[in-house]
């Protein structure tokens, strides 16, 4: 028999090894899943994980997908560390997209370099304010932020429908529930010609680097880590929990809002009801896969984006169902959470009991 034995201090090696083990375990279990679906497992795994890296069309798309995942996950990671669970990033993402798009559409046809920053600001503010609803309710009334932030995803989703059906609908769009296509000044500049890699990708990586710096070397980051590690000690140290709630939810809301604007003004180029693709939820997996560490999150964002792009390729090439990739991503999170135990505990043979 085996038993769990606490380690005296967490294994640093395991901290970085477990995500890799989790990805490997997911590949094996995923292979089993694909086999059950009647696909060649090796072929499927190769198509998902290797092909996109070699394909000149897919490779830049990974960057495009990774950007919103990284941005949102960075914001979530601060909160998750501090024990503040914003799981409504999807809603903040949508509200950011709507607000940014509304600004872009309000100045439709107006050229100017100031427009994009203004749209980004609108996206950030909208995401921030949408996140302030659960934040203030928790601070003022002690309401559970998990449930409120999640309920607001559904509200935001309906609000998007109302917007593209009403005020933001394309006047020349034959009553289709879509906005106009943004004009040039309202579209994110492309970094590399012939791809869709936009400015937002670079900004996401820069923000992640800043977040890493703050987490390890600034009092804000220290307080976030302290709050998550020992809440009472944090209060003793001088951290004010309500401020922490507002900061963490606000930060993740603002970044999710920015990500939403990037998505609308980048790859989408307009506002449609299909804008939300679950990035807000997938980013939760990214945050954990990256060990709530900004640098890890950059890597995790690319791995996750790879599964998206690879999954789309596998859909086309092998007829793998779209949902199989969601299962695949869910499994990844399961394995990650399960393997996490080896950071704090080690497996030891059960000591023999006295007969």
């Amino acid at each position: 028999m085996l038993r769990l034995e606490p380690r005296r201090s967490p294994s640093q090696a395991m901290v970085w090894l477990t995500p890799i083990l989790a990805v490997l375990a997911t590949m094996i279990a995923g292979g089993g899943l694909f086999m059950a679906l009647g696909k060649d497992p090796v072929d499927a795994i190769y198509t998902i994980f290797v092909d996109p890296l070699l394909d000149p069309y897919s490779l830049p798309e990974i960057f495009v997908k990774a950007a919103p995942l990284i941005l949102i996950a960075i914001g979530l990671s601060y909160g998750f560390r501090a024990g503040i669970w914003n799981i409504g990033a999807e809603g903040q993402f949508i509200m950011g997209a709507i607000a940014g798009a509304a600004v872009g559409l309000a100045f439709y046809g107006t050229a100017g370099v100031w427009l994009l920053p203004l749209m980004a600001l609108a996206g950030i503010v909208a995401g921030y304010l949408w996140a302030m609803i659960p934040a203030l309710l928790r601070v003022k009334f002690g309401t559970n932020e998990i449930l409120v932030s999640l309920m607001l995803v559904y509200v935001a989703d309906q609000f998007l429908r109302a917007m593209v059906n009403g005020p933001l609908r394309n006047p020349q769009g034959f009553n289709f529930p879509e906005s106009r296509l943004f004009h040039d000044s309202a579209q994110l500049p492309i970094l590399f010609d012939g791809t869709r890699v936009h400015l937002g990708v670079a900004i996401a990586v820069i923000i992640a680097l800043i977040a890493a710096l703050i987490l390890s070397r600034h009092i804000i980051g220290y307080n976030v880590r302290l709050m998550g590690s020992a809440p009472r000690a944090a209060m003793f140290s001088g951290v004010k929990p309500p401020r922490m709630v507002i900061f963490c939810l606000g930060l993740s809301g603002a970044l999710a809002g920015l990500a939403g604007l990037f998505e609308a003004a980048g790859p989408m180029g307009q506002l449609t009801p299909t804008l939300p693709q679950g990035y807000g939820f997938t980013a939760i997996i990214v945050a954990f896969l990256g060990r709530l560490n900004p640098l890890g999150i950059i890597a995790a964002g690319f791995v996750m984006a790879l599964t998206y792009i690879g999954g789309e390729n596998a859909q086309l090439a092998l007829g793998l169902p779209k949902a199989a990739i969601s299962v695949f991503q869910g499994m990844l999170l399961f394995f990650l959470l399960g393997l996490d135990i080896f950071v704090r505990y080690r497996i030891a043979p059960k000591r023999r009991e006295v007969a």
Binding site: L37, L147, G166, A323, S326, G330, G338
Partner: protein, 363 residues
């Protein structure tokens, strides 16, 4: 205004049906939380129940087996959560989220070839003669067995928690797992059982959606109902009887907004009626302890009702985008959560003290 589309009797019957998945899932989650475990994966377990119940019913042609299959499948899914949180000591919030993401994906995968099919129908329990008795018939005897089963489960859970030794032990484990362990109770085993039970009921709730309420399978059809079930447990202050009340409230809001959408009614008129109703209820509930402060509150609510009525009469053609109406169940959830979380003392007394905390027997 034309309110003929809102037949009160039909509304009540359909709200009870709409509330049944919530009653089931919330009752299951209540037991889980009473044992000290927070499983946020209700949504994932419900959608698994929805798809498995649907597949089994269609393939075998027997909805009862469909419900049984749904219960088993969701219990199995819940046990993954149990294994991760209880044995591998993973974070309950994160693992619950993982369960939801995984469940949504797996259900979509399994249900691919089942969209657009009608499932075999789950018939009513009582003969038609009984259910056509005016008023009482539809109100009491016009449902399928699951509706009655759900209500009986609530009673059974109440009895188990408050009247049996097993229930006492379960509550003790949720109250203080270290103390329960010191007394020699098997914390992990008890929690695993509670988690499996919670999964089974969530699965049945999900199956009710796909087999009776809709009845059809479509991807993501739970649309947040699992999360609302979690909110109902908080609303109910972990008391089984109040789960029914909470579920009916949300069922009522859902049904009302659907009917308003369908009947294309003026929302302002409905608002006026609803606010007037709230004012009357407030008055009745607090009639014995009316203070100046409360009277002012009630008068204010009532004047808002009047204002809405005036607005409704001034713009008889006012129509709201249906998307706004679709928000109402979610907004109601938030409002109710806020209204309840104000009372910290009661929450502290009823919420299981070790809810969500990791247990590892150190000895």
């Amino acid at each position: 205004m034309d309110f003929s589309a809102l037949d009160p009797l039909a509304l009540i019957v359909s709200l009870i049906i709409a509330a049944t998945p919530l009653v089931l899932a919330a009752t299951g989650e209540l037991v889980v939380e009473k044992s000290g475990v927070l499983n946020l994966g209700v949504e994932g377990m419900m959608i698994m129940g929805a798809v498995i119940g649907f597949i089994v019913s269609v393939e075998i042609g027997n909805p009862v087996l469909g419900f049984a299959g749904a219960a088993l499948a969701s219990a199995a899914l819940a046990l993954i959560f149990g294994f991760l949180t209880q044995v591998l000591l993973s974070n309950q919030v994160a693992t619950g989220l993982a369960l939801t993401l995984f469940g949504l994906g797996l259900a979509a995968l399994l249900g691919q070839s089942y969209t657009g099919i009608r499932p075999p129908s789950t018939g009513d329990v009582f003969p038609e003669a009984l259910s056509t008795v005016p008023v009482i018939g539809p109100l009491l005897f016009s449902y399928d067995w699951v509706v009655y089963f759900a209500l009986i489960m609530v009673g059974a859970v109440w009895w188990f928690l408050n009247k049996t030794r097993g229930g006492l032990i379960l509550r003790a484990v949720g109250e203080g797992h270290d103390a329960a362990h010191a007394l020699g109770y098997r914390v992990v085993a008890i929690r695993m059982a509670a988690i499996a039970f919670g999964g089974a009921l969530a699965g049945m709730g999900g199956a009710y959606l796909s087999l009776v309420r809709v009845p059809q399978w479509s991807e993501g059809m739970t649309a947040g109902i699992g999360w609302i079930a979690l909110a109902i447990v908080v609303f109910a202050s972990w008391k089984p009887g109040r789960v029914i009340l909470g579920a009916w409230l949300f069922g009522g809001v859902t049904i009302l907004q659907l009917n308003i959408q369908a009947a294309n009614l003026n929302i302002l008129g409905i608002l006026a009626l609803a606010l007037a109703g709230v004012a009357v209820v407030m008055l009745l509930v607090q009639i014995r302890s009316l203070t100046r402060h409360k009277v002012i509150q009630i008068v204010m609510v009532f004047s808002f009702a009047l204002l809405a009525l005036v607005l409704a009469l001034s713009w008889p053609d006012f129509r709201l985008d249906s998307a706004y109406l679709s928000m109402t169940p979610y907004l109601t959830t938030i409002i109710v959560l806020v209204a309840l979380s104000g009372d910290k003392t009661r929450r502290a007394l009823n919420a299981p003290a070790s809810l969500g905390r990791v247990f590892h027997a150190s000895a």
